[in-house]
């Protein structure tokens, strides 16, 4: 854990208290966002997303597997996140940290609960063979707000994912070598992350804003304005007003984010 110098803490708190930020943005303004897709030719879907200096790469690999017993006709989604030690001097090599698992689960929750991937179309043979989509997030540069960058990257990669056509011949799965189909997607989604500094709510926090924030809130909203996932993080509580304010702003801001896709 990095120690935050008192002078940094106070200067950020003072700025935010006066509705200003260290990089000159408004409290409800995102940093520059760039999205590139199909960046990994060996992955069936991939994207690289930058929000300011934050940079993540995601690759999607499908594998045939057995469905879960309670959903024999549905494909499977698995989201995994590696906070690479390259991304931040405080990230350590080794098994995923709590933070990394939380990040992967929050990103996964948005995709899963919005039901935007039509999992029923990923069934090859009911009860036996379904497509399992491995969504692997690689965090390569951490300058704050990994959540929103990851969700955008996953969304962009899902939209470009192509799977080989699978057919059953003599009870065996045969994959077509040249025929593919687009991963069926019926919605779009973005995640908006807020932190509370003093008594203000700030969107898209930088790393130093994250380090002085008392609490965090992630809100996942679909293109049609439905809230499909939320997570409160951080040491201190939020008030009901804070939360309602953030949700209201998230519904507006996710529309802007989705335009980047």
């Amino acid at each position: 854990m990095q120690i935050v110098p008192e002078i940094t803490r106070r200067s950020i708190e003072n700025l935010v208290g006066n509705d200003k930020r260290e990089d000159g943005r408004a409290l409800d303004e995102y940093r520059d966002i760039s999205i590139e897709t199909n960046v990994i030719s060996k992955a069936e879907g991939s994207a690289r997303v930058k929000i300011g200096g934050t940079q993540v790469i995601v690759g999607i690999k499908p594998q045939l597997g057995s469905p879960f017993p309670d959903t024999p006709d549905l494909g499977v989604l698995m989201t995994n996140c590696e906070m690479l030690p390259m991304a931040d001097p405080t990230f350590e090599p080794g098994p995923p940290s709590e933070d990394s698992i939380e990040l992967a689960r929050v990103v996964d929750r948005g995709i899963r609960e919005s039901e935007l991937v039509e999992l029923d179309k990923l069934c090859v043979e009911e009860g036996k063979h379904v497509w399992m989509l491995f969504i692997d997030l690689h965090i390569i540069d951490n300058c704050g707000n990994l959540f929103d960058a990851c969700e955008l990257a996953v969304m962009a990669a899902l939209k470009t994912t192509k799977l080989p056509v699978a057919t059953i011949v003599d009870e065996e799965v045969v994959l077509s070598e040249d025929e593919t189909f687009d991963l069926p997607i019926n919605n779009e989604l973005a995640l908006c992350t807020f932190v509370k500094i003093g008594d203000k709510i700030v969107i898209d926090p930088t790393l130093s804003e994250e380090s002085v924030a008392s609490a965090r809130l992630n809100v996942g909203v679909t293109k049609d304005g439905h809230i499909c996932s939320m997570q409160k993080g951080g040491k201190e509580p939020l008030t009901k007003d804070d939360i309602l304010f953030a949700v209201n702003l998230a519904v507006k801001k996710t529309k802007e984010l989705i335009e980047h896709l």
Binding site: S41, K42, A43, S46, I57, G59, E82, I140, N142, C143
Partner: protein
């Protein structure tokens, strides 16, 4: 010499297209991005910084910690995340390949971390990792005796060729990756697997060293580009 044309249209002594960029990450002290053929490799360097891992701390010298890691999506069949025996070995020999160029005795109680991430793999990632890591070390401002550079030669269809692609590596008879310090010609990494006669081995090592010198020019260009004043 041989005038064969390889599967991908290259001559026996021709490298795959290669591109190196220095200083691509914000947080890292030094970084580099390298593409050669279908390989995409990202390297970050942190340090020298105080060794916060007590068991690694050496009172009289600095230490380097190297981690070679393949992304799960970097290969055709998804690789399980985390270290395996192959990546552990490559991490070790990469550290050994780079160490001779560093002046670690100047950094007691410190460590230098080198993180090599294979974003996409297409044969020859260990050499590409070493080549990119050296550029990242220079970008981090760490004094070095030389820029270490890696390149492989091998035997494919009974011919000694430079810089094997993934396909050539699979179909070929031998692979000889090396790393060297081009100023002195000293070799800091050598592996060989497959079948070679003594003459073939001598030819392979000459070819690989020639390849290293070519790649070294591209390393220097990348650094010049990053640090030249317009």
């Amino acid at each position: 010499m041989s005038d064969i044309i390889r599967d991908d249209g290259r001559k026996f002594d021709e490298l795959r297209p290669i591109k190196i960029e220095a200083g691509v990450l914000e947080r890292a002290d030094g970084s580099a991005y390298l593409e050669v053929g279908g390989n995409k490799i990202l390297v970050a360097v942190y340090g020298p910084r105080e060794s916060y891992i007590r068991r690694l701390l050496e009172p009289n010298t600095g230490v380097i910690r190297c981690r070679y890691n393949m992304a799960p999506f970097s290969v055709d069949d998804r690789k399980r995340p985390g270290p395996d025996r192959r990546s552990s070995e490559i991490s070790k020999i990469t550290a050994d390949a780079l160490r001779p160029a560093l002046m670690l005795e100047n950094y007691p109680r410190s460590m230098i971390d080198i993180y090599i991430e294979v974003i996409e793999a297409e044969g020859g990632t260990r050499c590409a990792g070493i080549t990119a890591a050296s550029v990242a070390l220079v970008d981090a401002g760490i004094p070095m005796k030389d820029i270490v550079v890696g390149c492989a030669a091998g035997k494919v269809y009974d011919e000694i060729v430079l810089d094997l692609s993934e396909k050539e590596d699979k179909e070929g008879q031998a692979d000889v990756p090396i790393a060297m310090m081009p100023r002195t010609g000293e070799i800091t990494l050598l592996q060989s697997d497959g079948d070679l006669t003594e003459e073939e081995f001598a030819k392979a090592i000459d070819l690989a060293m020639e390849g290293c010198r070519k790649v070294n020019e591209i390393q220097k260009e990348a650094l010049m580009k990053k640090y030249s004043i317009e």
